[in-house]
Structure formats: C-alpha cells, structure tokens
Symmetry: C3
Subunit: 139 residues, 3 copies
C-alpha cells in the first residue's frame, strides 16, 4: 500500500463550473496504482468541488443559476462584506456543495459513473488562481 | 492493510429515501477487517447519498418534501429539460446532498451514531436501477 | 501504513459554529504520521461539520443566519415534530452541510488552506454533548 500527493493548479476567469476530470484522470492513471481511493481537497473558502452531469453543457448553466438564486448577492443581508458583495455568497455556496470528494479507484481508473464529471466550482466574479489537492492511497 | 470493493445493486420504484444500512453493514461485517475506512460512492447524477435519522419514519418524509421545495420542478426555469421535468431538479438535489460518504470502521462495525441510517436518495419519479460502490480499506 | 482513531468530545451551549481546528490539529500532530488522510465523522443527526473562513468572526454569524433562513423552524410545515420545533430543521441543515470530511495530511499537518477552519455546526438550541470521530491513516 502506498500514497501519492499532487497539487492541481487552475486559473478561473469567471464564476461557474470548470471541468477537471481529464487532468485528474491523467494524474491518477500515471501513478501505477491499480486499486485504491482518490481524495480531492479544495483548500479555498470561495470555491468548491462538485460532481455533475458532463454530457449536456446546459447542465452546467443551470446549477450556476440555481446557486446564485439560493445564496444571492444581497449586500444588506450579510454582516461580512469587507471583501466584496460576492464574498459571503461564495462562502455559502461553498458550504452547500463540497470541499472534499473521495472516489474509489479500480483497475487504475476512477469509479465515476458514465455521466459524471468532476468540477471546480468558482464562486468569485474575478479571475483566481485555484489549487485542488489530490491524495491517492492504494496498491 | 488491505482493500475490498463491492457494488451494491438497488431498485428504486419512486422518488425518496431508501435505507441501505443493513446491506452495507452486512457486507462490511463479512470482510474480516477490524478497523478501517468505508467509502460509499454513488455513480449517478440524479440519485445521491444521505445520512438521516432512522428512528421515526416521518423523518424520511420531511427531507423528501424539503428538497422538492428547495429545488422544485419548474419546467420554464431550467435550460436543460431534454430528459424530463424531474431531471434538472434531480441534479440540483444531488448537488445539495452527497455523492460520497466515508465512515470509520471500528471492531468490524461502522462508527455510525445511534440514530443514523444510510440512505440512497432517489430523485427521479420513475423506477431506476441504482448502484452504490463500497470501498473498504483497513486491517 | 498504520491507523489511529480518536473521539473528540465537545460541549455546545447554543446553535452555531464551534471551531475545532486546534484540537484536531493537535491530535494529528501527536500521531507521528507524516503523510496520510484524516477523516472527521460526526455521529449525530442534528449537528454537522463545515469548513469555513476563520479570519473574520462575522463570517461565522452569516452562515448561521443563512441556514436558519433556508431551513426555518416552522412547526406547521414538518410532519416530524415530536422532539421540538428545532429538531426537523436541524436534520435538514445537517443534510445540507457535511457529516464527514476527509483532509490530506502532509509533513504531519492538515492540508487546510490559509483561511480554512474546521467547525462543528450545532443545530439544536439547547446545550448538547457532541462527539467527532477522527480516523487517521498514513505512514
């Protein structure tokens, strides 16, 4: 049994979902670990992780709109506003989705379903540098 | 340290919560692993995982209603509607709950609390065949 | 590769977020495990786990208010009310946040981001004794 750790570095130019399945699968595939557990960890408080359908691009637009509706920018509503009107909603959208995801690895590949894609969910309006920590354990 | 993998196959006949604690516990109990970590992974985009109280059956009805209210079927609202009015809300309810859960294993049993049950949360109206991937790591 | 398990015991005197980063980091630091995976598991159905910004105390007040709004106490709305008006909303707020979190460990420390703190999210109004199960796997 052994472990591997990697930091995936990303640039997000706007709010929304950015698919990371290809980069994650490629790194896992290169580790020569047949079976194990991959953990993705997002070390940010205004970006998060999400598994969504990756077949129809419209499926990406709908969650973006939905989370903007459920945790709206509403400057008067939040006490914490020092970092901009999109900051507190970003923390709330992070709380409602995932900061961490673990996925079994089988025959060297992620056990994702046919329609599942891995996404980084950027919640800030301006471009950001983001990191996703990948931890793989297996043999 | 060793690993075991299993696919739990389920049939859901309607929307709602289906308890899977007995099947999961039985499989874990048969693996002869005293201490470790169990990961449940749901390879679907319109069904998810949830830990809820399993003492009072009414506790199951309330989350079902709640998630129908918070992410309603509203055909005009979503851009992605090709797979039916219940499809996009199903993706959103999946995003708000869990696609993966990991639970420590101690003395060969899950470290669940007294009132916790493991549920598959079906978000589509029609019957579906569902899979939950179980990955156990320990010794 | 080896494992360690610990139960963190907490007293919550009110609803809201209670930071547990120092206790968790101290326990991990004492395990002499350089790299691995830490899993936090909350064995309760009316308290949950959350990673939030820990720089500005106002960031704690906003999520508390937000989750009270999104899953409100509304006695007529829920079928399950036997355990008090704050019980069913507590289950829903638990469902919307996390019961489990896994975090990579690197050089003996949690791979948390600069602004991330680990919180127990108490959803009941009255004081409760709470447990968080910590499971560490690594070498």
């Amino acid at each position: 049994m052994r472990q591997a750790l990697h930091r995936l570095e990303l640039s997000t130019e706007r709010r929304g979902l950015f698919e990371i399945t290809p980069q994650v699968s490629r790194w896992v595939g290169g580790q020569k670990i047949g079976s194990g557990l991959l953990t993705l960890f997002c070390p940010h408080t205004s970006a998060s992780l999400l598994i969504q359908e990756n077949a129809d691009p419209k499926v990406r637009a709908d969650p973006e709109t939905f989370f903007e509706t459920i945790a709206p920018e509403a400057p008067g509503r939040y006490r914490h506003g020092a970092e901009g009107a999109d900051d507190m909603p970003a923390h709330l959208r992070t709380a409602l989705t995932q900061t961490q995801l673990s996925i079994p690895v089988e025959s060297g590949a992620l056990a994702l379903g046919t329609w599942q894609g891995l996404y980084l969910f950027e919640h800030r309006r301006t471009p950001h540098r983001r990191t996703v920590v990948l931890h793989l354990l297996g043999e």
